[in-house]
Symmetry: C2
Subunit: 232 residues, 2 copies
Amino acid sequence: MTTETVPLDRRHRRRLETIEEVLDHAVAIMTTDGVAGLSLGEIARRMGIRTPSLYVYFPSKHALYDALFARGAREIGQVVSDESAKLLADLDKRPQRSIEEVLLDAAAVFVRWAVEHPAYTQLLYWRPVPGFQPSAESFAPAIAMVEASKQRFEELQRRGLIRAGASIEEVQRDWVVLMTGVVTRQLANEPQAGFDKGRFTSALSALIDMFAHHYGAQPSTRTRGSRHARQR
Amino acid sequence: MTTETVPLDRRHRRRLETIEEVLDHAVAIMTTDGVAGLSLGEIARRMGIRTPSLYVYFPSKHALYDALFARGAREIGQVVSDESAKLLADLDKRPQRSIEEVLLDAAAVFVRWAVEHPAYTQLLYWRPVPGFQPSAESFAPAIAMVEASKQRFEELQRRGLIRAGASIEEVQRDWVVLMTGVVTRQLANEPQAGFDKGRFTSALSALIDMFAHHYGAQPSTRTRGSRHARQR
DNA sequence: GTCTATATGACGATAGAC
DNA sequence: GTCTATCGTCATATAGAC
């Protein structure tokens, strides 16, 4: 009995490790060849096994995509959640921070992760795989992230940084359009540029100013368009 | 001699017609199955020919994607160009129009076409096909469209609707992020909703207000956030 | 010139031996 | 749990019928 449970646990752990290894190779392939460029044969080749052996761990290629979707949603959710906690804690210590500063920090964390993890980003925010729809379980962390984001905006509204009359639903919707818009254009037009040098990631500051002006509570201390005025 | 040129012309015309037919079927398939779901076998099946026969007209699947990219870029370019001409002519007749109204018209034309032609939109604004890069010739109309858009913003700036100090390069960049951001979210999250009922296409008005407030010349006549205030 | 017949190699997927 | 063998489909290439 005792001799049975131990190897079972070990086998189980080993199985989970193998699954993680499959996912790691899949991400590496998708990063270079795009989400649609993933092939089970290439994963197996890199692991030194035959393609059919992968079916022990995943019943289909779509199931593999589903696991990758879940993994990506969990990871970006964690990154954003950590930043969000820091943001609110920091706001307690330095309440004089402008809404522009606060939102730019939050935006940069999301956009940086997205452009630096193009495989997950394509899977989460485009529709690159014909017929693939994430399962409810895999989609759950993505929903949780949106809910957390809305709660963060509500908190900012309570603290007087977001205009009192603003609909949080609309704030969240427009925020998502801006953030994923920047990420999509950067990855599709300049995939090699990276966060710091990208033409579209560099637009974040101007877009956040725009957003803050519209949904922020107090008029910005910065003159509208001061960034451009400098260039004249 | 005379008897030779006539059938050559006819044959040439017939060839072009066949090419158009191939492209039409390709668009239909991509519309239902996504860009990556296109298969030459399915095109041939629908045309009642064998797959290798397609290679008479296109040397490879990538060449077919290239022709589709060019077609899509020309079509949306034409749609936007027509609207742009109408917009400026209308502005001569009714110079009292606000920048919000003018831009919302322009935005609606682009976004409506994009969500109603998801096959072209995916090809033009995402990266759904591993290894596919449009040729310089196919890309040309897309560049022309961006140039025309910049010239339109310059004209609006000359007419005093866009703030004098604004960099047209930045105006165009942020405009593209907003428009393709809305389109991408609508097509990826709610592909079946259509322009009029979509959750993200419905955000256009608010996003244009935001944009106009930032880059427009005179303060808006509408109270900031009046749309939301109404909902209270 | 246009299309078919045929073949190649890669793919996702399944069945069954060990 | 991994293998081999196999299936059907895919994009692609070539040779040849008409």
